[in-house]
């Protein structure tokens, strides 16, 4: 028996999440872990910064702020201040395709937290005020100023390289200005259409009494009535996705030079196989670039789920005072030859090594309630309902036959010619003070 084959024995019984749906459509996922000192609650709505009503992009982010400020009929900041007083940790995050409200609290606060979450889901529409809106518009503007800059511009450039100009998945360049345009009526409309039990998933992981919690959820969330209006359609994949994709050389002008390339993987068709495919791709490109180690500071892959596909971005960051020009030619060649290199990616024990890397990554989340609850919530949103234990089991049994189609799909189309946007400055780092 190999070490990987022993995994289910070592992890205990292969558990899966317990789930049920209330009559109003709310989906609930429970993951009781009696040995924890905390419990994590995640409420997820499948509308993110790429969704929302026409002409009102960025509304989901603003709404996330507003319902954090005032959870339904609970007083302004009262919920977050209470959670802070009891040692809780909480956040709201707006992703391209969904929005999460996350909280980690002592088990004794679970029902209070669920009460707040129910308020946020069912009673925010009429609670938001014009003052709240004005102040949160300003705060979101401050946040966007911090998050703007070259990194975000480059991300936008990459998406523009292979999506139609009108695609909602491309972040707006004018996000900050657009946020200021939203009215109270827009916010209420959004809450009416999207913050409703039949458009939400509630995931709980950690120390709690599953039976009592199920009853409590049924009692307080079951009282919410889903609006009669149909749910707005989710933002889907773009029809042009099967077409050619562009390569980009990108650059962070303030610091270091970089090279980058994007691919798309089909989504909702095997989280584990997709992860393994992108790991193998990353490892292959790293081998191709090995002769240039002295010029490369870092190689990174980033990915983001956008509807029914996933964007994988591979970036090479140059070292200070080193030109990336000699690297660029080899990088472009390695990318052009990728479709013929798939066999090489599986040579020897390369798949096993990729499995090990992925396994360790998931292992580190196993004992963390917040990560477990987030996996449950986002998994349900993405129609991938595996628990961590099941993910680890699937890694163990993954074969070349499972992973290869992912790579073939991503690498099958002809890349567009490389476009260069690189311009670099020398990087200086010593500081000397001058009194003025």
């Amino acid at each position: 028996m190999t070490a990987l084959a022993m995994l289910p024995l070592l992890l205990g019984a292969s558990s899966s999440f317990e789930s049920f749906t209330l009559s109003n459509g709310l989906q609930v996922v429970l993951d009781p872990e009696p040995h924890r000192n905390s419990v994590a609650v995640v409420a997820a709505y499948p509308v993110g910064r790429s969704g929302g009503p026409p002409g009102r992009r960025g509304l989901s982010h603003l709404v996330e702020h507003l319902v954090f400020r005032r959870a339904g009929r609970v007083g302004r900041f009262q919920a977050v201040e209470h959670l802070q007083d009891v040692g809780g940790q909480f956040n709201g995050t707006t992703h391209p395709g969904y929005t999460l409200y996350e909280c980690l609290i002592p088990p004794s606060e679970l029902e209070t937290m669920l009460f707040y979450e129910r308020e946020r889901m069912g009673f925010s529409r009429d609670a938001v005020t014009a003052d709240d809106l004005r102040l949160e518009q300003a705060i979101v503007a401050r946040e966007l100023e911090l998050r703007g800059g070259v990194g975000r511009d480059l991300y936008r450039a990459r998406l523009q390289a292979f999506l139609p100009p009108s695609s909602p998945w491309i972040p707006s360049k004018l996000e900050k200005e657009e946020v200021q345009e939203h009215t109270l009526e827009d916010v209420r409309w959004f809450l009416e259409r999207y913050h409703r039990p039949d458009n939400a998933i509630l995931a709980i992981s950690g120390r709690f009494d599953a039976e009592r919690t199920r009853r409590f959820i049924q009692e307080i969330f079951g009282a919410l009535v889903a609006p009669e209006q149909p749910l707005p359609a989710r933002v889907g994949a773009d029809p042009r996705l099967a077409g050619p994709k562009a390569s980009l050389e990108v650059h962070d002008p303030g610091k270091e030079a970089g090279l980058g390339r994007v691919w798309m993987f089909p989504h909702r068709s095997g989280r584990v196989y997709r992860h393994l495919a992108r790991d193998l791709l990353h490892a292959h490109l790293s081998r191709a670039l090995k002769p240039h180690t002295e010029r490369i500071h870092d190689r990174t892959t980033r990915w983001e789920v956008l509807g029914s596909f996933e964007v994988l971005s591979h970036e090479v960051e140059g070292k200070a005072s080193r030109s990336l020009d000699p690297v660029a030619a080899d990088y472009a060649r390695a990318i052009a030859e990728l479709p013929e290199s798939i066999d090489a990616m599986f040579e020897g024990d390369r798949l096993d090594r990729a499995k090990t890397r992925l396994q360790v990554r998931y292992l580190r989340y196993l004992d963390t309630p917040m990560e477990r609850a987030k996996l449950a919530a986002t998994g349900w949103l993405e129609e991938d309902t595996m628990s961590f234990e099941q993910v680890l089991e699937q890694i163990e049994t993954a074969t070349v036959t499972d992973v290869r189609p992912m790579l073939e799909h991503a690498l099958s189309t002809q890349p567009l010619p490389v476009r260069t946007f690189a311009e670099r400055d020398d990087f200086d780092f010593e500081l000397k003070g001058v009194e003025r």
Partner: protein
């Protein structure tokens, strides 16, 4: 500039103006549920599930701390060594840890990953793995600590790569380097930035690096910390036989003691600034505090918690919630072997930067004149204690916290990890310690970002020091 212009054109294409805003359908009347409002039921606070900690201490050897927590599914192991007293060893610590990490990661079996951390209190080298792999992984770690030769293979290339990485990434630590330089003076070793390290490392040949490895990774200075579920960790006898103790070490130098807070004599306010194009300015107040072993430490930690305040904090209340001038204000607290550091502030619109400074002045004055209640102190510390209990769940967090405790010289107990400062800190302690460490004369201000609006006002108030980047060579 040609390429920048091309990039700008690409970025702007398709987003020349705000999108059209078609009218929305009218809102429907909200349906009433017709059911009574339920209220949350009380849940009794459950008993804390603690890690079962055992510490094995032997004279002339390394300590072993094992934390076994019911239900945990993986294993984390770290050998931690306190910051070395010698500046020569300190300057090359990053390189030595880099060599150690690379070798360990290559030597670990499948199903494991090496981890290394350079913390304020010391360095940590270890791994996370499956329970079935702990023994094989520990053998790999033990082999490296017994014979580091493989880590030094192709030393010159590894050193060159490390130096280039150091230069490439040093910008991220700019803020802290900058205030430390202001606080301690650029010549002080606590304030040494990347440039000094680069020069020191560039000169260190392999034989000298080996000698410094032996001093840094001297087992008799270290503590082995392990965490996992029941039945996951090897017995002590096996640990000691796999990595025998080398006997007492006599090479440790007496640590240099830092006077805290270091005396300032000029008496005026000092502002350290780095000016670059931005829409906001990051304003931070920098305080130096006592080391974790110092009697004043618990009260200083309580002060950090009180100043932070989170969503309730005065900075967030008056400038975020009421004015939308900042995305958030808070504090960062970090612990070193000989002192601790408290940074308070955040990014803000330049027009409100002075208001943020006034909020800090008001908050610290309140503490210094005793306008704080015991209930406020108790509440802040109870919150801190609960935060720790809910976060010390997984093996990696437990090992990290215990390793920090070991390197800082505080007891490696679960209670010590939680928040020993939560017990027995009185309002009077807080006021006394605030008068020592929060005096304006012991304060440095850091500004990074858009300085145009506030430059002249700061010059009117005190000494403004602008920093500029210069080449290392």
């Amino acid at each position: 500039m040609k390429t920048r212009a091309a990039l700008a054109m690409l970025l702007l294409s398709g987003c020349a103006g705000l999108e059209a805003r078609p009218p929305l359908e009218p809102l429907a009347a909200r349906p009433a549920s017709g059911q009574p409002e339920p209220t949350p039921g009380p849940i009794a606070p459950p008993e804390l599930v603690k890690a079962d900690l055992s510490t094995d201490h032997r004279e002339g050897s390394y300590d072993v701390v094992r934390a076994i927590r019911p239900g945990n599914r993986y294993v984390s192991v770290s050998f931690t060594f306190p910051k070395h007293a010698s500046p020569k060893v300190q300057r090359v610590t990053g390189l030595l840890l880099h060599l150690a990490y690379q070798r360990l990661d290559a030597a670990l079996p499948a199903g494991a990953r090496a981890l290394s951390f350079d913390r304020g209190t010391g360095v940590q080298l270890g791994f996370v793995t499956l329970p079935s792999k702990v023994e094989a992984c520990f053998e790999a770690l033990a082999e490296l600590l017994k014979d580091p030769s493989p880590a030094f293979e192709d030393y010159t290339t590894k050193r060159r790569d490390f130096l280039q990485d150091l230069v490439s990434s040093s910008w991220s630590t700019l803020g802290l380097n900058l205030v430390r330089m202001g606080r301690f003076g650029a010549e002080h070793r606590w304030a040494e930035g990347a440039a000094t390290q680069v020069r020191a490392i560039a000169k260190v040949r392999e034989a000298r690096a080996r000698e410094r490895w032996d001093r840094l990774f001297d087992l008799s200075r270290g503590t082995l910390v392990m965490a996992g579920g029941p039945g996951h960790l090897p017995p002590l006898e096996q640990i000691r036989s796999t990595l025998p103790a080398p006997g007492a070490s006599s090479t440790e130098e007496a640590p240099e003691k830092l006077e805290v807070p270091p005396a300032r004599t000029d008496g005026g306010m000092r502002f350290h600034a780095l000016w670059f194009d931005d829409e906001q300015v990051r304003v931070q107040a920098y305080h130096v505090g006592p080391a974790p072993t110092h009697p004043d430490y618990p009260a200083f930690r309580a002060i950090a918690q009180l100043l932070d305040g989170g969503f309730r904090g005065e900075g967030n209340r008056s400038l975020r919630h009421e004015k939308g001038a900042t995305y958030g204000v808070g504090s960062e607290f970090s612990v070193g072997r000989d002192f601790s550091e408290l940074l308070w502030g955040g990014p803000i619109q330049p027009e409100q930067a002075l208001e943020l400074m006034l909020v800090h002045e008001e908050m610290t004055t309140r503490l210094r004149i005793g306008e704080v209640s015991q209930a406020e102190v108790d509440s802040a510390l109870a919150s801190l204690r609960t935060q720790r209990a809910t976060r010390l769940e997984d093996p990696e967090s437990l090992v990290q916290k215990l390793a920090d405790c070991a390197s800082a010289g505080v007891p490696t107990t679960y209670e010590a990890c939680l928040a020993p400062e939560a017990d027995g800190v009185s309002k009077d302690d807080v006021v006394r310690v605030a008068r020592t460490y929060l005096e304006p004369i012991n304060l440095e201000w850091l500004f990074m970002g858009e300085m145009g609006t506030i430059k002249s006002r700061l010059q009117f108030m005190g000494t403004l020091i602008f920093y500029k980047r210069e080449k290392a060579e």
